[in-house]
């Protein structure tokens, strides 16, 4: 296989809270190739979001290395666009179009007309042309996430980093957004690193799924998915296998409750 786009090698991440030093991940390694829909999946506390922030450049590994195109990541930058879970990730004082244009101009990617055209193109792609001149507070949660995705894609980053972008949406909207993301991916084949704690979302969206265990986050297994929850050679469904891997060892008591919480 070709050289990986993103190479995460033996990365240990620690962060400080007021009282203690928390080890979020321990010796995590994985490689993301161009065009991958790479999923980081695990329960809360497995450090998946922290890992994504480290790839984003917001936090330096205590040990190990993260390389993008072979060079280590030093700081946040527009070559790794983040899409966050929070609805307040759009600048509320700018309209939908201005939000995308500002991203392009502030990062120095494009200027003036070119930025405007690029913004229109991607806003159209996520189906929000009619709302291009609306301010974010007039949009629904799903629409705000669409704008964030349009903004991320318009920047044409090397890799799109998505931190549970659909977690705060209602179930219907969430499914719609998943379909839309897949459709967009079919269209442009961008590379995405996607964090989620939902097993079904991981299977639907990912082509490769990295399972992480919690406290601290460690790699359990790397799985492939074709978008459908199929049984393997032993007749075990992919979702069941993921579930067993994630929860069998450390949470044996109420698997049903766990399932409900993490899949919902």
């Amino acid at each position: 296989m070709s050289e990986p786009l993103l190479d995460v090698r033996n990365v240990t991440l620690r962060y400080k809270t007021r009282e203690r030093l928390v080890t979020a991940t321990h010796q995590v390694s994985f490689q993301v190739h161009a065009g991958d829909r790479f999923i980081l999946l695990g329960p809360s506390g497995c450090g998946k979001s922290t890992l994504l922030k480290a790839v984003g450049g917001y936090l330096k590994p205590a040990a190990g290395q993260i390389r993008l195109h072979g060079s280590p990541i030093a700081a946040p930058g527009p070559d790794r666009m983040m899409v966050f879970q929070e609805f307040d990730q759009l600048l509320p004082w700018k309209t939908v179009r201005e939000n995308v244009v500002f991203a392009l101009e502030a990062s120095g990617r494009l200027k003036g007309r070119a930025a405007d055209e690029k913004a229109r193109h991607y806003i159209d792609k996520v189906g929000l042309t009619r709302f291009a001149d609306s301010h974010p507070h007039t949009l629904s949660g799903g629409m705000k996430q669409r704008v964030a995705i349009a903004r991320g894609m318009a920047m044409e980053p090397d890799i799109l980093l998505m931190d549970e972008p659909f977690a705060a949406l209602d179930a219907l909207t969430r499914q719609q957004m998943q379909d839309e993301l897949l459709r967009l991916w079919e269209d442009t084949r961008f590379t995405v690193l996607f964090v989620t704690h939902s097993i079904s979302e991981a299977i639907r969206l990912g082509n490769r799924i990295l399972l992480l265990s919690a406290h601290p986050g460690q790699v359990r297994e790397l799985l492939e998915s074709d978008g459908i929850d199929r049984p393997d050679a032993h007749g075990e469904l992919l979702s069941a296998r993921i579930h067993r891997q994630l929860f069998a060892a450390d949470a044996p008591s109420h698997p049903a409750a766990e399932e409900a919480r993490h899949v919902a």
Binding site: M81, M82, D88, Q89, L91, W93, S107, H135, H137
Partner: protein
């Protein structure tokens, strides 16, 4: 259980569908209702009623030396405007006020910049605002007179004090309240330093900054009038406070009232024209209510 209970209670209810009220899903409001929905009109009515009460009480009292009537006050106001004294005094007040206001804002901006730049700067600003914000600016007037003498200098000093702390306080808390997500978004674009502050932090904190500016204005206006009352004329041209004081000494009580009315009118005008417009254009349009 629940569906049964609902179906039992249904026959007892008047049939909603097909009745006369149910047909009118929408109906236009009557003229009175529409008029009553206009806030400005309601407030104008309140003002009119207040003027009426004032006039009635003053006529009943019949002592223009203590309490002139509304019409007498109005006449004095018109006189004052015609003779040019009142506008001149008002301008003198506003000029000093703007100087002090601008000075206070510049200092507040500097202080806040230091405070967001370093942890110790943050501690310094928090301590200073905690100390000086509760201190009424007018209490510093004796000291100001000692340091800067009778004149604009003293006025500006107390004005700066009255503006600086409330503005610094809310600007600083506004900056601190900028969501982590927005900060990360800004850095994601590769912004840093001054561009990061002007493009992300200031607009994100704008609701608080605007609230601070409004507060600062209100404090400054009050402080100025009070200070002028205390030591009156400065550098030849007194302000509105001095106008009030002077006329009281000459027992021109309707003119005193007209001076007070002018103070109120200017305060209202700034609040409603300047700050409301600014709010409507920014914070309300952006859906960012502080």
């Amino acid at each position: 259980m629940l569906p049964e209970a609902v179906s039992i209670s249904l026959p007892g209810q008047p049939a909603p569908v097909g009745s006369a009220e149910a047909d009118a899903v929408e109906r236009p409001l009557s003229l009175m209702e529409k008029l009553y929905n206009i806030g400005a009109l309601r407030k104008a009515l309140v003002l009119l009623a207040l003027a009426g009460v004032w006039q009635a009480y003053a006529l009943h009292l019949g002592n223009p030396l203590l309490f002139p009537s509304f019409t007498e006050t109005l006449a004095a106001l018109v006189d004052g405007v015609r003779s040019g004294v009142l506008p001149q005094r008002a301008l003198a007040s506003i000029e000093v006020l703007l100087l002090g206001y601008a000075g206070g804002i510049v200092l507040a901006a500097l202080g806040t910049a230091l405070a967001i730049g370093s942890r110790i700067g943050n501690d310094v600003l928090e301590t200073l605002t905690a100390m000086f914000n509760p201190l009424p600016a007018i209490a510093l007037l004796p000291l100001a007179l000692l340091w800067f003498g009778l004149g604009q200098g003293s006025l500006i000093f107390v004005l700066v004090h009255s503006v600086l702390w409330p503005v610094a306080l809310s600007t600083h808390s506004g900056f601190k309240g900028v969501s982590n997500t927005l900060r990360m978004v800004g850095r994601n674009y590769g912004l840093s330093g001054l561009r990061y502050v002007t493009a992300i932090l200031i607009p994100a904190a704008f609701p608080s900054i605007l609230a601070g500016l409004k507060n600062g204005w209100a404090f400054a206006w009050r402080t100025l009038i009070a200070a002028e009352l205390v030591f009156g004329v400065s550098s030849g041209a007194g302000g509105l406070g001095w106008f009030i004081y002077e006329n009281k000494n000459q027992l021109e009580i309707p003119a005193v009232f007209s001076g007070l009315l002018t103070v109120i009118l200017i305060g209202l005008a700034v609040e409603n024209l300047v700050f409301r417009t600014l709010e409507a254009r920014t914070v309300h349009r952006w859906g960012m209510h502080a």
